[in-house]
């Protein structure tokens, strides 16, 4: 299927989701699942004495945030199945227990290329994550590959 779609959807915010507060347990579980041993992510007492002044989440925790609408409603389906093609994450501020995060989603780009599994369509979703202080926490470019 050739790449045809309404280009006006590029850059438009299609979702805004507010998440329940991040908990200490969530941070510790996430760190454990990755085998993290860094005390900033695993040891509240040690982290309190460090540069963050408290427990913070490992940097990729924000990738678990899932928007209410993963893609815009009227986005054409370019392929039958979707896969995660890759993520680019920019981190501006740490995530702490109690943080109330919100995420805005836009379509950043859509393009096509061919690979070992055939024709692939990439939809790049840009997620902007902010905390309760209006501080930018992270910018995530999520390349969804459809084929």
């Amino acid at each position: 299927m050739a790449l045809e779609f309404d280009r006006s959807i590029i850059g438009q915010i299609f979702d805004e989701t507010a998440f329940p507060p991040v908990t200490k347990e969530e941070i510790l579980e996430f760190a454990a699942a990755l085998g993290e041993t860094n005390p900033f992510y695993t040891d509240e007492a040690a982290a309190a004495k460090g540069p963050y002044g408290g427990l913070v989440a490992p940097p990729t925790l924000v990738t678990k945030l899932r928007a209410k609408k993963f893609t815009p409603e009227h986005l054409p389906k370019f392929g039958k199945v979707g896969f995660d093609g890759g993520r680019d994450l920019e981190i501006f501020a740490p995530v702490r227990p109690g943080d109330q995060l919100t995420m805005l989603s836009t379509i950043h780009d859509i393009y096509e290329k061919t690979g070992r599994t055939g024709s692939m369509y990439f939809i790049v979703i840009r997620n902007e994550v902010k905390n309760q202080n209006g501080e930018r926490v992270a910018l995530i470019d999520h390349r969804i590959m459809q084929r």
């Binding site: 454990a32 699942a33 990755l34 085998g35 041993t37 695993t42 890759g86 393009y111 096509e112 290329k113 061919t114 690979g115 070992r116 599994t117 055939g118 024709s119």
Partner: protein
């Protein structure tokens, strides 16, 4: 002046590479003993990087830097060397379904040379297409050694090269700084310009060279290191 060149790599100009050209050059300067390269050919995805000017870097690092492209066709991916305005006018490099036969024939007619890359790779390599379609006329050589290939993909190319009498060359297909020059091509003649390269590729007298370190033997299952979660 160069004899050993990496004929296939991507800089940050390619959408899926994060490697600045200068970082490639610094890495090669550091790894000169293991990877004795004298030149790089930047083969950016689906574009020709007209704006890229690497002459200062060439002087600073004493390396030849040439520009080329990797395009996508109905017979898989093809590297195009000697890209000029005529070629760019004739073919839209962003098209992922370029007609391979036309690309091979017309690029040659217009003064360049188009060579299929990673021919052993599923879907985007020549071998699979030759199993169900007639071979392309006018192919002079193929990339027999690609640094990004999976097990068996490079080995498969030997049969293709023998059957069709193709020349064979090598490239790293690097998308990251540290993978540059792991596979390359050694020429019998000196390459100073893109015209030299096109002529040399057409004529023969080159071969792939492999600078990858031999892989250590790894036991089937490893001892898990003792972190909290057992990872």
């Amino acid at each position: 002046m160069a004899r050993i060149l990496d004929l296939h790599l991507h800089s940050e100009a390619s959408d899926d590479s994060r490697a600045p050209v200068e970082a490639y050059l610094k890495w090669l300067a550091r790894k000169r003993d293991e990877r004795p390269l004298e030149g790089l050919v930047l083969t950016e995805h689906r574009q020709f990087n007209n704006a890229g000017d690497y002459r200062e870097l060439e002087d600073k690092y004493g390396m030849l830097i040439l520009k080329a492209s990797e395009v996508e066709t109905d017979y898989g991916h093809v590297l195009v060397y000697g890209v000029n305005d005529d070629i760019l006018k004739r073919f839209d490099f962003k098209n992922v379904r370029l007609p391979a036969q036309e690309v091979i024939t017309e690029v040659a007619r217009m003064g360049g040379i188009a060579m299929p890359c990673h021919p052993g790779r599923p879907t985007i390599g020549l071998i699979e297409h030759y199993q169900k379609k007639p071979p392309i006329e006018g192919v002079v050589g193929v990339e027999a050694l690609n640094g990004g290939s999976k097990k068996g993909e490079n080995e498969r190319v030997a049969g293709l090269v023998q059957a069709y009498g193709y020349h064979a060359f090598g490239g790293s297909d690097s998308h990251l700084v540290s993978f540059v020059g792991l596979c390359a091509t050694e020429f019998d003649r000196d390459i100073k310009t893109i015209e030299d390269l096109v002529e040399a590729l057409r004529a023969g007298g080159y071969r792939p060279v492999d600078f990858r370190a031999p892989r250590p033997q790894v036991p089937l299952t490893l001892e898990v290191s003792s972190h909290g979660s057992g990872i």
